[in-house]
Symmetry: C2
Subunit: 316 residues, 2 copies
């Protein structure tokens, strides 16, 4: 196991699972740069879904059965919101709302999302560093043949049941990586960058689209590896496979490799996709073939450790 | 029972009790002008304690045993807020937060507090008209020998355990009665104005201090009666008696009469204070002596009906 630092890029549930595995081995030597393109304002609350999933997962309070939210959550807020005629398409648990309220108050008071996230992580006993990709608001917009949709409208209200033609990240030109992101990627102790098995288009692409981010990743001068979120032609969770198809690609680990080509040095593919390893290698990448589906906490730790070992051995 | 309209002025719990009694007889012929001086922002939420108490009481969901908040409330929000290091001095129930969130979102979107309150009242099945005294923010400041305090700091955090020297209503010079308040007080069907047994200094005085409000009350040309919030030298609830003492007055129904002198035509005093009736009358007011302590729902209805009958009989 390497004693040096790792930076991970991550979005939602799959990313948080691998991040938790990495965090178990690395603790404060892990920095996770998290997508904030999904962030939105709802019933007066500023919600950062991917940061929250990361906080709840690494804080050990995530609801595993449900795949989002907090274990032992209660629903009185939602019940009363419905009674008062408020919107009910986005579920907000009572405990979840506490975090959103605190964040909303501090953002309105002028605090940076990075500082707020750090304080929340500390309160939840998390030693790894969870960093928003930027402190600017850069909302992801989903483009469809019938017009543009705010991301959560697409993702939650319409349950991804929409043909997509592309994405826009609003205000992204004005965004910058934070000093904390810059510092993490410039660290002389950094040994690798791990792109978690998150949606390439709406979880990872927003991070990579922050002006200056790709240059920082390359300037780090360390191996960049990605774990394929596509296994046997399907996404473990979420709309990644359908998006690929809508955009004209056959969903596969190879398609992921092509998507990240020019950025990553290696792809971790699932054992079910071992037959694609050769084609991926022909793109000039190294390949690690292993079981990538994380059903249990042990799976997370094992996959994370295999990634770290792969990096430690020079991608062999 | 009069078939015409009544306007009530009210603040917190005692005011809401009498308003509920009036609402049972009057329904949509009752308009309650409610103090908003207690309103404040807390963990990103805009909270209007007196309007909320009125909504919950008239909506039939108030927690009677507790004296504030909602019956059957749950507390996961508060529990998580504490865990995340948030402020815990102001209790916010999960259902309560739903209302605050909705209101906060609509205020930030530019809606008037009057319109928002009306929609919330309708959602709760309330037929009476609940009107904020103004749509402006006019926070009550409590003056003490050690400096000024925001109202909720005084009322909740310090539990009123502070010597007061006076009050200020910030921004009150810029405030105006709303068109809805003006219309209610200008109605040709108006038969009386009832000042509920609310704190004269921090519930009723803010309403009366809105520029133009006193002129509207007088121009209505109808009897103005007040129900004394002081019974046997003490307040039924809250700091009114202590405030009177701090300000140099012996707390009594007579002191209330003197406080409202020049504004009201009659005072309703408790049977325990019957001995003060003569002195009150000597101030040029009519007096109704009756049982004013509202322990049960029947008490609220009976006191309200007695007030209406008193008005209907020309304050005899």
């Amino acid at each position: 196991m390497s004693r040096s630092r790792i930076v991970a890029l991550a979005g939602g549930v799959g990313g948080a699972k691998l991040a938790q595995g990495l965090a178990q081995s690395l603790g404060d030597r892990l920095t996770i740069i998290v997508n904030t393109g999904d962030d939105f304002e709802h019933v007066g609350l500023r919600i950062s879904p991917d940061i929250d999933t990361m906080l709840y997962t690494l804080g050990g309070i995530a609801n595993r059965a449900q795949g989002w939210g907090i274990e032992g959550e209660t629903w009185s807020f939602m019940d009363q919101l419905a009674r008062l005629g408020g919107p009910t398409w986005f579920q907000l648990g009572d405990r979840d709302v506490a975090l959103h309220s605190l964040r909303s108050a501090r953002l309105r008071a002028g605090d940076r999302l990075t500082a707020i996230t750090n304080d929340l992580a500390q309160a939840l006993g998390i030693t790894s560093n969870i960093l928003p990709m930027t402190d600017s608001e850069t909302p992801t917009v989903v483009c469809t043949p019938d017009g543009d949709l705010p991301f959560q409208d697409y993702f939650v209200r319409l349950r991804c049941d929409v043909t997509i033609t592309g994405f826009r990240f609003e205000n992204i030109d004005q965004a910058r990586p934070t000093p904390e992101v810059e510092e993490a990627l410039a660290s002389s102790e950094l040994s690798a960058i791990v792109i978690c098995p998150s949606n390439p288009y709406v979880s990872i692409e927003p991070i990579l689209s922050v002006p200056g981010m790709k240059a920082l990743l390359k300037a780090a001068g360390v191996p960049i590896i990605a774990v394929s979120p596509i296994v046997a032609g399907a996404a473990i969770k979420g709309p990644a496979a359908r998006m690929m198809r809508d955009l004209g690609f056959e969903p596969s680990a190879l398609a992921c490799a092509r998507h990240y080509s020019g950025l990553i040095d290696a792809l971790v593919v699932d054992s079910q996709d071992a037959a694609e390893a050769k084609a991926v290698e022909e793109l000039g990448m190294k390949v690690l073939v292993t079981d990538t589906i994380m059903r249990t906490e042990e799976d997370r730790k094992r996959l994370a450790d295999e990634c770290l070992e792969f990096v430690a051995k020079g991608l062999q």
